[in-house]
């Protein structure tokens, strides 16, 4: 034990010597990513007689070059017959800009099956199919002003029922908008909340809306109760702010679109949650990535006054 002081000192020195390095805790790992085969990245949505589309490409994660739009022949088939075709992006240039949408010859209807083909000289052909979902039916709409009077806030109540036909999978999206949302120099912001535990977890910031599947109410009427609040983006100068109608925007979604939206919410959330399991966003494009979807919207105008 007479050498113990020497041993202790030596140990401490070893610890200090090795531990003081800036890079004591990290090592760069050279990982060879597998060769990535570029494929078409296609996002297209049809609603009414509008078709939104953009076509680009995938690339390796360590590729820092810019994306580009891919020139492609787009063919839309209805019930296996050619319905509409155009060249992307050439046929979509309007006033020097590429419009995100192109007009179809007619609106889509429930039950019709559409196939999108994207044919590119560079990256081959990508394909996807969708069936137009049914238009949602909503009933028993009621609106009660100043229904929730809480200590620091007053909220209105909007209630309605979604009528679901049985024996098939249906998916819905809904959001709300006052028709007069810009009043003089104020911007009126409508906030929507709900205590419904199933719906509130599906809130999407980008469209201020909610998503629901008919898993829990197949063939039944589903009651939806929303709390609506109004906020001004500019300070009030005392002028009265009011509006007399609310638009209830409800869409029937295809299953693929529903799966995509749910996976996207999870993907966004997992980016902020270190405990979450990693997510691959849903894709329905054959020989490519992305989404081809069809919505069937219904707009209900609710007159308040």
């Amino acid at each position: 034990m007479k050498h113990i002081k020497f041993i202790i000192s030596l140990l401490v020195l070893i610890g200090i010597f090795y531990s003081c390095d800036e890079d004591s805790f990290t090592t760069i790992k050279e990982l060879k990513l597998p060769e990535h085969e570029k494929k078409l990245a296609v996002f297209s949505k049809i609603y009414g007689s509008n078709c939104e589309i953009f076509v680009s490409h995938s690339k390796s994660s360590d590729d820092t070059s810019n994306y580009k739009l891919i020139k492609a022949n787009i063919i839309l088939r209805k019930n296996n017959k050619e319905f509409f075709s155009f060249v992307y992006p050439d046929d979509m240039i309007v006033g020097g800009f590429i419009s995100p949408t192109i007009q179809l010859p007619q609106s889509v209807n429930k039950g019709e099956k559409y196939t999108l083909e994207v044919i590119s000289d560079e990256l081959g052909t990508a394909k996807a199919s969708q069936t137009v979902p049914r238009i949602p039916v909503i009933t028993d709409i009621s609106y009660k002003e100043k229904f929730y009077i809480e200590k620091y806030d007053t909220l209105d109540q909007l209630e309605f029922k979604i009528v679901d036909p049985g024996n098939e999978e249906n998916f819905y999206f809904f959001n709300f908008r006052p028709t007069t949302y810009t009043i003089k120099k104020y911007h009126l912001y409508l906030s929507t909340q709900t205590d419904d535990p199933i719906i509130k977890s599906t809130y999407r910031d980008t469209e201020n809306g909610f998503i629901i599947s008919d898993k829990t109410f197949d063939g039944e009427k589903r009651n939806i109760t929303m709390k609506l609040g109004y906020y001004l983006n500019s300070p009030s100068t005392g002028e009265n702010v009011s509006f007399d109608t609310i638009l209830i925007n409800i869409k029937g979604l295809s299953k693929d679109y529903y799966n995509f939206l749910i996976s996207k919410i999870q993907y966004d959330q997992s980016g902020e949650n270190p405990f979450a399991e990693p997510v691959n966003i849903y894709s329905n494009i054959e020989n490519g990535y992305g989404l081809f979807s069809i919505e069937n919207p219904e707009l209900k105008v609710l007159k308040l006054k």
Binding site: T27, K29, L31, K59, T64, N273, A276, P278, I281
Partner: protein, 787 residues
């Protein structure tokens, strides 16, 4: 007449078989302390029959009326021989003395139950003395980290206590402390285990060939028994180390009749840090307090009612505490925030041993086990001018609580049969995560409770097993039946178990085993990181019980009476294993769903491999070499496109060399070197754009990009390897002993990866991947004393 003669002859033969055998029964214990010795070997050199003591030190052997020469032996103790003439059932206890540790014991022939003698395969007993002598992280002796050095048992991530046994996940290990399941086995996020080695008597792990008396988990049984307490004298020991201090005291309440043992362990860094932090914050005009510690408390009492009845009471409580409070005062307002996380186990067990007759022993147990986690965060702001307060408060709690009762019988009718049978019942109560949120400010008040309701389930089991010897063949055959009720759902399972040993020539044993197992409770844990916020949840009508089937084949032999060799191959198939759904964690819900079951997916697992163990338990030098070659797969329909993928802890090679050498009477040197293949990881391999703004000339402005992972777990982190060394300097004083233990963890400072992150390297102008390691070279020192 002929018939009568035949009946008479048969009756006489029957009487001859049973009338001329008598049973010797008793206990084997430590002479100095009175501690009962588990699996001590009692062997009759005349008839060549032997038996082992059970968990309570009880043995029973039925032999022919004759002289018998019983040799009782146990690792680390001098054998004891007793010669008796057997003419009636007798009670015969053995009290063994510790050997001189430096002396090689000449053990000959069948005096010790060798590895090739046992029908049980895939099981390793690790002497607690050896666990305590091995070098350890921060000098903290760790039972579970020692088990990680055995073949077939892998650590998850570097420095943590998680056990992945033959491809199974940590929730598939049944960890028993004095026969009570322990649900959370680690402190400080897995850096230390909850087991204080000073309070323990023995540790064993069974990885396959599970005897029928065990059930409820798929992958391993880790059986840890606490000491009973010294029946003769008061003794104690303690230590002061880098991180914790410990103290253990044991002694008789009534000499040779009742005893107790109490041991405690606590970290103490906060005693020094808290005043310093408070003072520093005060100098800045703030108030700040930090709590960071863990503790364990073990206690046990036992009382010998009479020579046939004995009572035990065991208690364990352990807790991790991390918390802070901060207060800042400004001219117009006061801002306060606080937060913290606590988690811990409490365990209580009451046991009654009853020797019903010389051949039949009963242990009855009632137990209580509770694991809870509590997470809190709060913030408030007080407006001094207007006397208004706003704030936010969140509290998250989860846990599992068990009440259980069981009866276990040991019946030894003949030397060739060791029968065990029994039944048990458990009531589980689950709290799978409740979040209480409160908020108040000028514009709103929130007070809500989110999460899942408490639920209960009941589990029942009954088993029968027989350890049979017939010539060179030894077999342990049994049946385990279990039933589980959860809500309106009822599950049940009949699980056959068989272990075989056939003694070939030259002392080589060929062993094989088959076992079906069923598991009704599950641990929801992230593959990214394991935390105390992992949730224990039951099987339900939507979540089916996990199931496994395992086969193993191997050979075993003892060389030079001291070196045990075993080589085993195994194949394990698992069904209904669970994982979090992509995007899910214990936080939040799956969009559009409310039940916790929606966060979970079930699938299959498959693991197979070969294990080699060479172990020397006695003498100046002791230790082992362990090697595992294994493959480990998972398959879920909702993950990786339904294709099977390597489990995160699929480590192709796992190797450990462990040794302890007594340099002299007072100096002991220990070292361990481990090597393992890196963990499997997923990283994004490609990406594509989702949203673009309008643009011309074909150059889109991307404002949203989607990264995709490609095949799951298709990359590997770097291999891990590490050398740990330690030296103990003992000195015996008049009335006490002391030891300095000095060592180094990760002696050559290898950066063993803990996790991987991506980063942009501006020098190289590309994305690079960095492995982050947690534990560099860490010297440690501790002072130990014994009185």
């Amino acid at each position: 007449m002929k018939k009568s003669l035949l009946v008479l002859l048969l009756t006489l033969s029957f009487l001859k078989i049973f009338a001329q055998k008598y049973t010797i029964s008793g206990y084997v214990e430590d002479l100095q302390t009175g501690e009962k010795l588990i699996s001590a070997y009692v062997f009759d050199e005349v008839s060549k029959k032997g038996t082992v003591t059970n968990t309570y030190g009880f043995y029973s052997i039925t032999l022919p009326k004759d002289s018998v020469k019983l040799v009782c032996s146990y690792l680390g103790y001098s054998p004891l021989v007793k010669i008796v003439y057997l003419k009636k059932n007798i009670k015969l206890d053995f009290k063994l003395s510790l050997t001189n540790e430096l002396q090689e014991i000449e053990i000959t022939g069948e005096r010790v139950e060798k590895i090739e003698e046992k029908s049980q395969m895939s099981q390793v007993d690790v002497p607690v003395k050896q666990i305590k002598s091995l070098p350890a992280l921060f000098g903290e002796v760790d039972v579970l980290k020692t088990l990680q050095l055995l073949p077939g048992v892998q650590a998850g991530t570097e420095g943590t206590s998680g056990l992945y046994v033959r491809g199974g996940s940590p929730d598939q290990n049944l960890v028993l402390l004095d026969n009570v399941p322990v649900y959370n086995v680690s402190h400080f996020l897995g850096i230390f285990s909850v087991f204080n080695a000073d309070a323990l008597k023995n540790v064993s792990i069974t990885k396959g060939g599970f005897p029928a008396r065990y059930g409820g988990r798929l992958s391993s049984i880790i059986d840890i028994n606490m000491k009973d307490g010294n029946m003769k004298e008061y003794h104690g020991n303690g230590s002061i180390g880098n991180i914790t201090s410990k103290l253990m005291i044991e002694g008789p309440v009534i000499k040779d009749k009742a005893s107790f043992i109490v041991s405690g362990r606590r970290t103490y860094a906060d005693f020094f840090l808290r005043p310093l932090i408070k003072r520093a914050a005060s100098a800045e005009g703030e108030s700040f307090d930090l709590k960071l510690y863990f503790y364990d408390l073990n206690a046990k009492a036992n009382y010998i009612i009479n020579d046939k009845n004995r009572l035990y009471l065991s208690f364990y409580s352990g807790n991790d505490v991390f918390g802070f409070e901060n207060k800042e005062k400004y001219k117009k307002n006061i801002s306060e925030n606080a937060g913290g996380i606590n988690w811990g186990n409490t365990i209580l067990a009451l046991k009654w041993n009853n020797q019903i007759n010389p051949k039949l022993f009963l242990n009855s147990t009632v137990t209580y086990s509770n694991f809870t986690t509590l997470f809190k965060a709060e913030y408030s702001d007080t407006d001094l001018e207007n006397n208004k307060k706003s704030g936010f408060y969140a509290k998250y709690s989860s846990g599992i609580k068990d009440y259980a009762a069981k009866m276990d019988f040991d019946y030894l009718p003949l030397p060739n049969h060791y029968i065990k049978f029994g039944a048990g019942f458990i009531n589980h109560t689950y709290n799978p995560g409740v979040l209480n949120l409160k908020a108040e400010n000028n514009s709103f008040i929130l007070d809500t409770l989110l999460g899942y309701n408490k639920s209960q389930s009941q589990e029942f089991n009954v088993y029968f097993e027989d350890d049979i010897k017939y010539g060179n063949l030894k077999a342990n055959v049994g049946l385990h039946f279990s039933a589980f009720k959860t809500g309106k759902k009822f599950y049940n399972s009949l699980q056959p178990r068989i272990g075989l040993r056939y003694l070939l020539g030259n002392g080589i044993a060929l062993k094989g085993s088959f076992a079906k197992m069923k598991q009704y409770i599950n641990l929801l844990t992230s593959e990214s990181i394991s935390t105390p916020l992992d949730l224990w949840v039951p099987s339900t009508d939507q979540i089916k019980p996990q199931y496994s089937r395992q086969e193993a084949l191997g050979i075993a032999k003892t060389f030079a009476n001291d070196i045990e060799f075993s080589l085993e191959g195994y194949y394990k198939k698992m069904e209904n294993v669970i994982s979090y759904r992509p995007g899910s964690s214990f936080l939040g819900e799956v969009p559009g769903e409310i039940a916790w079951e929606s966060k979970v997916v079930q699938g299959d697992g498959q693991s197979y491999g070969i294990e080699l163990l060479l172990q020397k338990k006695r003498g100046e030098f002791s230790g082992w070499i362990a090697y595992t070659l294994s493959w480990n797969w998972r398959q879920f329909d909702e993950i990786n496109g339904g294709e099977k993928y390597p489990f995160k802890y699929d480590k192709r090679h796992d190797f450990a060399v462990v040794g302890t050498y007594n340099i002299s009477k007072n100096i002991v040197f220990s070292a361990s070197w481990i090597y393992s293949t890196g963990n499997a990881v997923s990283i994004p391999v490609f990406k594509y754009p989702y949203k673009i703004t309008n643009s011309v000339s074909g150059k889109p402005n991307i404002y949203y990009e989607i990264e995709s992972l490609g095949k799951k777990n298709s990359f590997r982190m770097s291999d891990s390897h590490r050398l740990d060394i330690s030296v103990e300097f003992h000195k015996k004083k008049k009335k006490w002993e002391r030891a300095w233990v000095i060592g180094i963890y990760n002696t050559y400072n290898h950066k063993n990866p803990f996790f991987m992150i991506s980063d942009y390297d501006y020098n190289r102008e590309k994305i690079v991947y960095k492995e982050v390691s947690l534990l560099p070279v860490l010297p440690f020192i501790s002072y130990q004393f014994k009185f």
